[in-house]
Symmetry: C2
Subunit: 254 residues, 2 copies
Amino acid sequence: MSGSLTVVGLGPGNPDQMTPEALAAVAAAEDFFGYFPYIYGLNLRPDQRRHASDNREELARARAALEMAAKGGRVCVISGGDPGVFAMAAAVCEAIDEGPVEWRSIDFSVVPGVTAMLAVAARAGAPLGHDFCAISLSNNLKPWEIIEKRLIAAAEAGFVMAFYNPVSKARPHQLGDAFALLRRHLPGEVPVIFGRAAGRPDETIRIVPLSEAESGMADMATCVIVGTAETRIIEREGQRPIVYSPRSFKGAET
Amino acid sequence: MSGSLTVVGLGPGNPDQMTPEALAAVAAAEDFFGYFPYIYGLNLRPDQRRHASDNREELARARAALEMAAKGGRVCVISGGDPGVFAMAAAVCEAIDEGPVEWRSIDFSVVPGVTAMLAVAARAGAPLGHDFCAISLSNNLKPWEIIEKRLIAAAEAGFVMAFYNPVSKARPHQLGDAFALLRRHLPGEVPVIFGRAAGRPDETIRIVPLSEAESGMADMATCVIVGTAETRIIEREGQRPIVYSPRSFKGAET
């Protein structure tokens, strides 16, 4: 008798940005797997159990959760943001794909959430207002040449870009290299947004031109949005400027 | 004395996928602007006022909302999904940018939501599990050649793609043309997901190979996700298959 596994997105961190569906999924489960801060941030009942693990152990965590569900458990795997965007949903799918056939009969579901780029974009205005892409700058799982190829393709085709995993202790240079590459393909005035803890009390939103963007402006928890030649800034007296990408294509010079 | 304007994302349509922040923003406002079905779907108090308009009148709607806020109103502009993704946030920013300088002092904010591609992806597994892009197939506001350029760039660079506004009465051919173009740049086995009303009682999720994808499989309210050569399908007995894009780049032939 196999149980259930639900991958739940908590949203960007502000409890007001977590959906009722995610709350209900947490209430219905018995065992919780995820990265330490997410698992210890959950409000659980005494009968619910925490299984926290390190950030870099996603596949092992997915397998442990699937094993428990295969034995009949009601299991939640917890993600920040949306679980389908550079988070736990793909890791669980990979583990099912490579695992024993019994894992395929587990009642598997994913509860979506507000992903970081949407929360950061909302605080800046509407920088994702036209076609855009999301790129993980981590080269743990793909070669840096592929990331470079995607950055150039996105810049040349006029996509706004959102970067996830922009920097880490093990990868201090990637974001700076990405900015240097993009400066060869985009005008220096293109707005870059560094958004951290969007919607939370410790939020920081910083807007700089691409020509001045530096990797030191981001940390692991920052989502970076790079505009296009079409992206505009509305200056306001006494308030942060609004950054938006118009819905219409006007053919700005790149 | 200028008032406030909040652009609120209702999420994909299931009330359980609307955030408490969005609910609170609705409760705090007096006047509501938006597309008919969103405005008439809101639970409002007798003192709250509806100003519904047609789908194709986004800029006029944004201006009317800003005029009311400039006079001191507490105004909400309502979007489905996330307001920053092919929805009302960019239209309001455009109106501010081109409008009278007083509009810049309105207390302007955006409340993010779960956008359609995240809801559809969650129901399919994790098709957005690696780098992806979102493209509006509407050529009302940009030339079709730009859309073609972006489709080719995304296919060649290995981005999963989510299509918004895939078809309409006025644009019956675009989606079919996009599939035909992509078949020249991607293997025919690449999974295509047609997701409609994800998370709602009338949900439909259909998965077909790119070689068999047709525009008739979508309508205005469908979000279409096109995988990459890396995207995989896990077949399951008696259940819908799981579609996911692995986090690692394995270098599949395109």
